[in-house]
Symmetry: C2
Subunit: 742 residues, 2 copies
């Protein structure tokens, strides 16, 4: 008979397996030929730019981390209102997330030149290298996440070994949850900084290069072109990786915490519920690896066949996970295994539906994109109007999908289809499990995501090193595919962020409970005075049902604190977007000025006789990103803390729920509008509505430029905002409780 | 000793007074000279176009009203799950709102020609006519609203005369609240239809006339120019009037219902609490009338003096209301009169702060507008990016203001600064009173709003009838002033909609309670089964505190139904905006085609030898608006009903709160972005950043065109959406209860 303790070893094993394969893929890729001297030089430029940026970003992040760790240490060791593990958990989360981003980006910058070179031979050779290099990021993210989770679980289980099991699990899981904040903060900087970097370079390069000087994209005469290619790496590889690293950890840890609470009465079930999300993730990792090997094309494959190959990989993994998790759950022997399995499948389905919906609204031959393209006949204003209109309408399907998915996951896991609140903990556990299910294919989906910018960079390399046009045509085919996977990947990232944030919101309650117990232990107080009217015995709190608990804290929608939290939460999403949009605008303006200066001052750039100063442009984007990322990040961290101090627990709940609901919808809108503008432009470039160079095309280029910060800076940054605010609330739950007391 | 019954007569008296003065202002205006034959002809064109549109709109509205009334009658008289007064209340609300819009627009279309003519003599003569004509709308709106409210109160008080007082008040106020839905639906059509009409004409006229043909604004050679002028009337006069009519009624009625509930235990206080909002409104009406007379300028006044005159009127009225309401409240003798007075002053202050914030972000020499204007140097894309960025950031102050205002109003009225929930009814009553306080100056603020489009049309008339350029310069001065008042008016409309919607959300609970009592009476059931786990005795429900009541229905933020309602509510705001944006896009496209056709087919238009077919353009805008207004309206009505059926009361609460929070923020963003783009363009036209005709100017014109549907269609329509959804929920509360039962 296999015990749950035996199964635990699946977690480190899957982690090590993922890391080993990541290493293999990396060294195999590096063994490939990087092409001629020009190609090597360009790849080196991009690589050194990307690494220089990452160093700068990590410096800023390090300052933040040191400051916050000091605060946490003070709260934990001097005031005793913070879990003593928090400072370490915080640092470890941030460190592993940063490491994953670093490895992913290093791989991507080594790979793109090699992909370009492989495309000199055949399309399928290019695909193979690009995709396997993307898989390095995917596998590193899941491998490191599980390593961190597994190690912490093991350490804490040993440390609290003499505690009674169900209480031990509650303590372990609520402690582990706090390491999510480290990952979250790292992700925020990666997404916001990377997003600003990439779009400042892109917008700057387009505005002066394409529009003013009339030179094509990726032309080596454009001084911002290297910065643009660097941007693809820092934004789409490192940023996306950090974002999903956070969702992945967040969903697993939140589910574990919810599981410990839901099955508290039956310790042997509780440990199963805690380990289930980790085991599903381990299973997903192994099966994703199989999926990576399923992505194969025969020599001379067409673009449709490439797409089919990628889809085959993802479908196969999803299908295998759906089947295998049923067996795994039976093996674990968790109560209501069929319901939990239903939640996993629901999560997988939500991911697929949101991906398909994103594809519908943003793929270049879809009705919405064609509509935008046709509105270009009446100029840029109508392009913008119809793009915004379509983006806003496109929020419907993802929201309905998440709503239906959440209700299904809750109902299936709790068996309480009337939502009476009696089985609320189990229902919320189901929501967490759905998020874990959705993210279980992450090793593979992240590979297809990272594949996009690698191919994009390969195209840039081919263009700049003036390879045969046939090579560029091949890299373009890879890139077109990458655009589709990037769009669906964005939908996947947003959808998983929403589910993860829901699970985090739910686990905030568990964190509050444990904080009250901690406070009671520290002060010897046995009555917890929530406000003038309500006092509760601490002993009742530890076993209180979630609905009772919400009642104590008056987290009802008519409490003005909750309502005001909702308003501020909704406003936060918009403020955050506004700040990042303006940041891109400002940084892009500096880039435009620099490019114009170089065109004017360095004679012979446009004739190709002199080399532009690429490094200066990379520096400008780096400085812009570095400078502009600080204020939005501070806002995201400070707001939940202030809300907790001013309006207490109900205000924080309102803030998180309001931020989540409107942030999710806003993120979908911005990502889809941006994607649709991009592909409307591509549709025109294919010769429709006047074709390249027509007035319609110019109008569509303006739409695309507006869409750049929409889809690559502000929209994706919202994913982090909604998770980070929950994480900050979770970590400062002890402070919230303390503030309410004194 | 004056009793509260004696004071009641203030309400009809103020109403009649307002209507008499509206009549006097109207006939005095009509007695003015309308100018030469050309001017008369143009005014006639605009008038007949506006009236033709209004007839079409009312036809569609009538169909909707008949259908909905039949459904209400069926629910009330056949299924007995609806208050039997609802069909009548619904119709009366719609009728009076429509009548106010009709009178306001008739006045505006008579006035603009006369304003143009008066400007041939002097600026101050023009201001006087324009402002007094605007006051006709303001006074008609408040007069008719109070007439309707007063009459219903009187009839219902007589009808339920033998019922015990405090119960009678609950029944009366919850019944009266349902007439808000009639006003709300009428307002929706006016705002959405009017918004689509005006922007289809405006965008169409600009794109072909200004951009393609290079002829100035309001040029008689542009076939869409009459439609554009008609649009100002149907969008900004009739639409704005209906919007604020609804807020005005909604805030008074919601406060009355909340007052009846809050003081239920003490009947003599309850009647005071019910009549207080109506009496404040009556007082406000009388003092607004004084304010109208304070807007006077001496002969030959400058633009600054005009602005000072308008501000003097509003400041004087606000100040007088703040003073006089203190005396009134003491006279009424309501408990905690100082707290209630504080809520009124808070409301007034919220209105002023939001107005100032809007002015800051949208006035043409403010920092944000200048920033957008400077970003025009790098083309239209950066104009759009910075406009969106600034609009999003501009949501901060209004949201914080509403949050602080709501918390203050709640705390002052309830005295419960810890928000324990013990005095929740009184606190929510305070929020309603704050909305009433904010709207108490409506007679005057609406006059300054309607003044804008009247001056705008006067400018159009002067241009088309080729009057002396000096006349146009004078109407432009009036118009510039009108733009500022229109921007602050928009902020005021949004802010008041948010406060009103909050009050409506709170009064939804009262409607639920009365529905349960009604159901219990009809079925003889004394136990109300809320769900599998919770059953409550009906006798307990009538006296249950609000927090208990929220507890019964599990309206806590962790109930998945509430969370899902929040998501759908946030999505609804975006969907609704997307639909209206696209509607403008489509209708504008038809207009562009028609104008191009006329330029091509009617020889001699551009040389001024042939007259364009103005009527055809008006017809196109009318047909577009008529066609496009249906789908968003159906969505707004259907969604709360479906949510009630699928997710019950918690789902509806979530929907309303989510829609309110994100709709409010989205509305502020869209209005401010639109206003800022408009004035950035004006700033460039004054000769900055290259001036008129430069590339920067062209880029700014594109920003302005995108901003048109932002600020005049989608943004303002959201005001109605957030109120209408609450109204639908309130009216169908009986159905929600019935659905939960069967």
């Amino acid at each position: 008979m296999i015990t749950i303790q035996d199964l635990f070893w699946l977690i480190p094993s899957a982690s090590v397996l993922a890391l080993i394969f990541a290493g293999i893929f990396f060294y195999r890729m590096k063994a490939q030929d990087e092409g001629n001297e020009v190609m090597k030089m360009i790849a080196r430029h991009v690589r050194s730019g990307a690494m220089a940026y990452l160093r700068q970003q990590y410096k800023i992040v390090a300052i933040f981390f040191v400051l916050i760790t000091v605060v946490f240490a003070f709260l934990a060791y001097c005031l005793h209102i913070q879990n003593p593990w928090v400072p370490f958990a915080f640092i470890s989360g941030g460190f592993f997330s940063g490491l994953a981003g670093y490895i992913g980006m290093k791989t991507a910058t080594y790979a793109s030149g090699r992909v370009a070179n492989a495309c000199r031979h055949s399309l399928d050779a290019g695909l193979q290298i690009a995709f396997r290099s993307g898989a390095v990021l995917g596998l590193t993210v899941v491998g490191l996440a599980m390593l961190d989770i597994g190690a912490w679980y093991w350490v804490l289980d040993w440390f609290y070994g003499d505690m009674e099991l169900s209480m031990r699990l509650v303590v372990i899981t609520t402690t582990m949850l706090t390491f999510g904040m480290g990952a979250s903060l790292q992700a925020l900087f990666a997404r916001v900084g990377g997003g600003i970097f990439t779009k400042a370079a892109d917008v700057g390069a387009d505005l002066v290069g394409k529009v003013e000087a009339g030179i094509p994209e990726d032309d080596p005469r454009n001084p911002a072109t290297i910065a643009d290619n660097v941007g693809d790496n820092v934004g789409d590889v490192a940023g996306m990786g950090a974002d999903l690293y956070e969702s992945y950890c967040g969903s697993i840890l939140a589910s574990a915490a919810l599981g410990a609470a839901a099955y508290m009465a039956v310790p042997e079930m509780a440990i199963k519920a805690v380990l289930t999300p980790m085991l599903i993730a381990a299973l997903g990792t192994i099966l994703s690896l199989l999926g990576v090997y399923a992505v194969r094309v025969k020599r001379g494959a067409s673009q449709t066949e490439l797409m089919a190959a990628l889809n085959r990989g993802i479908n196969l993994s999803s299908f295998l996970i759906a089947i295998a998790s049923a067996f795994l759950l039976q093996l674990i022997g968790l109560d209501n295994w069929a319901g939990i399995w239903g939640a996993i499948v629901t999560g997988l389905a939500v991911g697929i539906v949101i991906g398909k919906s994103t594809e519908h609204y943003t793929s270049h031959d879809s009705y919405p994109c064609r509509k935008i393209a046709h509105s270009a006949k009446t100029g840029p204003a109508t392009v913008i109007i119809s793009g915004i209109g379509i983006g806003m309408i496109s929020t419907c399907i993802p929201v309905i999908t998440v709503v239906v998915g959440t209700v299904l996951a809750y109902g299936l896991a709790s068996g309480d289809w009337h939502f009476t609140g009696a089985e609320m903990s189990k229902g919320l556990y189901g929501i967490g499990i759905a998020a874990v299910g959705m993210l279980s294919t992450l090793g593979l989906t992240l590979a297809t995501d990272a594949y996009g910018p690698i191919s994009d960079n390969a195209g840039g390399n081919a263009e700049m090193s003036k390879l045969d046009p046939e090579v560029r045509r091949r890299t373009d085919a890879l890139d077109a595919l990458g655009n589709t996977t990037a769009a669906t990947g964005k939908g996947f990232a947003i959808g998983s962020a929403a589910l993860t944030a829901l699970a985090l919101l739910a686990s905030y309650i568990e964190e509050l409970k444990i904080s009250i117990l901690h406070w009671s232990e520290a002060t010897g107080n046995t009555i917890y005075k929530i406000n003038d009217a309500v006092s509760v015995e601490v002993s009742k709190i530890s076993t209180a049902s979630l609905s009772d608990f919400m009642g104590y804290f008056q987290v009802t929608l008519m409490n003005p604190k909750v309502l005001m939290g909702l308003f501020v939460g909704a406003m936060m999403s918009f403020m955050f977007c506004g700040l990042t949009m303006n940041a891109v605008g400002r940084a892009a303006e500096k880039m435009v000025k620099e490019v114009r200066r170089q065109f004017k001052e360095i004679k012979g750039i446009l004739t190709g006789e002199a080399e532009p100063d690429y490094v200066r442009c990379v520096e400008i984007s780096t400085a812009g990103a570095q400078h502009e990322m600080i204020w939005p990040s501070v806002l995201a961290v400070i707001t939940p803390i202030c809300m907790g101090i001013v309006f207490g627990v109900p205000g924080v709940f309102g803030l998180l729920a309001g931020g989540l609901a409107s942030g999710f919808v806003l993120a979908v809108f911005m990502a889809n509008s941006g994607g649709a503008w991009d592909n409307a432009k591509k549709y025109i470039e294919q010769g429709h509505v006047g074709g390249k160079g027509s007035e319609s095309h110019k109008a569509a280029v303006i739409g695309d430029t507006v869409g750049d910060p929409f889809k690559d800076t502000s929209g994706p940054s919202l994913n982090i905002l909604i998770k980070l605010m929950s994480m900050v609330a979770i970590v400062t739950a002890g402070v919230n409780i303390a503030v309410t007391l004194f």
